[in-house]
Subunit: 197 residues, 4 copies
Amino acid sequence: MQKEKKERPDKYYSILNAAGTVFARLGLHKATISQIAQESGVADGTIYLYFKNKNDILYQFMSFKSDIFFEAMRRAVEGNDSADVKLRNLILCHLTEFQQDRDMAIVFQSEVRYRRDIASQIKDISKIYLDLLTEIIEQGQNEGVLRHDLFMGLVKRFVLGAVEGVINTWVAADGKYDLVSMADPLVELYLNGIKAR
Amino acid sequence: MQKEKKERPDKYYSILNAAGTVFARLGLHKATISQIAQESGVADGTIYLYFKNKNDILYQFMSFKSDIFFEAMRRAVEGNDSADVKLRNLILCHLTEFQQDRDMAIVFQSEVRYRRDIASQIKDISKIYLDLLTEIIEQGQNEGVLRHDLFMGLVKRFVLGAVEGVINTWVAADGKYDLVSMADPLVELYLNGIKAR
Amino acid sequence: MQKEKKERPDKYYSILNAAGTVFARLGLHKATISQIAQESGVADGTIYLYFKNKNDILYQFMSFKSDIFFEAMRRAVEGNDSADVKLRNLILCHLTEFQQDRDMAIVFQSEVRYRRDIASQIKDISKIYLDLLTEIIEQGQNEGVLRHDLFMGLVKRFVLGAVEGVINTWVAADGKYDLVSMADPLVELYLNGIKAR
Amino acid sequence: MQKEKKERPDKYYSILNAAGTVFARLGLHKATISQIAQESGVADGTIYLYFKNKNDILYQFMSFKSDIFFEAMRRAVEGNDSADVKLRNLILCHLTEFQQDRDMAIVFQSEVRYRRDIASQIKDISKIYLDLLTEIIEQGQNEGVLRHDLFMGLVKRFVLGAVEGVINTWVAADGKYDLVSMADPLVELYLNGIKAR
DNA sequence: GATGAATGAGTCTTCATTCAT
DNA sequence: CATGAATGAAGACTCATTCAT
């Protein structure tokens, strides 16, 4: 039942992380192979022993991080919790993972958003996320915890958009405050809205 | 009390719009000066009569669009409406403007997000937006329409993030559906949340 | 009735000739764009205003030279001369043209021979030549000047191969002797062979 | 009086043949050390245990093939045959050897022709060939079989050039027909020429 | 003002060659 | 001897920017 992942040499991951750092600092286009090489302490040519080209580095980076991310996500929502707890766990997990890996957070938010030239496989990342949300919300509706009169397509975007907005702000603030502590207040807003009662 | 705007020649705007189109299609980095020149029907060199450099074009484009955008915003929230109506007007205006100018929507969402190299002035765009939100929410609290126990910093991001999430989805779908119709359901979610009552 | 050739700017030809010189000196692969640029007194980038890439330079060079070459060929064999005179004129023309343009001679003989990656259009150069030979030989057979029991496919190669062998030797000798004077003795060998009578 | 040839290990020849194949397929410049290594089933670095560098491989390849080739040549013209028979044997041997070893044929015809950077030793290959021709022709003149009024320098090129032309054509046709059968008709053309009598 | 030809700095990428294991 | 990972020099090509016309 173990993860069947082909083991990559250390240098592969070394380059991958260096790339993450450089991409986060400069963005895909301004980042140069030389900078990534220097950051990971190898020669330029060495990069090409492990990656097809510059785009491939970004792709592999995102794939690698996504696998970790979604594994964490899945663990966060498995079990018999009620929908509202699951939603809270999901958001908490999301913020925790991004806080722990700010390079990923930056690259993910800035590079993956609108690139039409990035493999659609990477774009599916958010699809997985949205599917998890759908599950949770439907479960919540069945449990009677969540409203039935929800336009699912919108709600999913509403939830994901708000988290990402929070993350973007945190990133823009150079991660100076605790992102994870936003989870509970955020979920509370999802659930209750801002109207006085 | 007249508008203190230096009048720009037509060609300036022609280039600006061409740039918007090309930036939207290819992104800042893949877009070339030649393409912008061709799109606007001028010579490459002409662009440098009106803009300092490539980044300046993006900057001017955003400034120009922002001015229009915030003028519309301001009109949307002026008057004596109650806070919930103003919030609805703000969101409606936001979605309307972006739907009407998809180039701006794409450029704004994809290029402006994380560029550390873009003049901070442009980043202030969202500050203005957030300030409007603050005003509205505070008014709502004073009116008793909105909850008092809100962490303002989070709520603003919550609202803006959700709108942007909805816009991003619309852009990714090539603008195939009506964005503006999302305004009311979205505001309803802001106000009431997703919890069943 | 004038040649309908699109006029190219001087710089196009300047680069073309520089390329010919560099290709002749170093061969296509060892020749660098920088060297060609330097030889023609322009910047590296300028080359790309006139040529798609390095291979394109070779291709254009060959096309340009071929046009001149075959125009000369055609003039050499037109008219009402008998076949043996035409053959002599053809060979004479061939040697004259190559002697006058040693860069072309070298590039043609060394680069065009075996490159599978060169557009077949260029390979057709020798086809035109072989067709001219066919015409001449058939005319000669009709006139009774040339033998009828000739395997045309072989004879054509026999004639062209021998001329090229002579040219190759001349090139290898750095063009130190008069190539054109080889024409008559060569044709005499074609016609009479080396057997004593 | 034994052959003073240093015995080379099998791997040397294995690499040599692999190189011949790869050179024939791609040409010296497009062929990579890695491809040659793979073709011969050794590691890249191993090649440098047997060869100084890439050029040296080509050089050794040509030397090796030349030795075999000229050994065959010498056998073809030794004995007391008359000059015309020797000439025929020489050409026959040439075509036979090249047909049997198409890699050599391709490499020889395409790489050796014009390389100024290839050791002159390799260029001497054709010198040996031309010397053999000289011997044969002079013998033929002494025997009265061949014309006395021949410009030897030209005749040699005439003969070699024509054979090579025939070989080139055969190579370009992917060796689809029988090259050896060209020997007799070709020699017949050498001897009698194409003029009707 | 307008042009667009020219520039050349900047990058990715390849691959012959080396060398620690 | 053999390996093949690592190197880094070299070169094709792009494109923002300039400037003579």
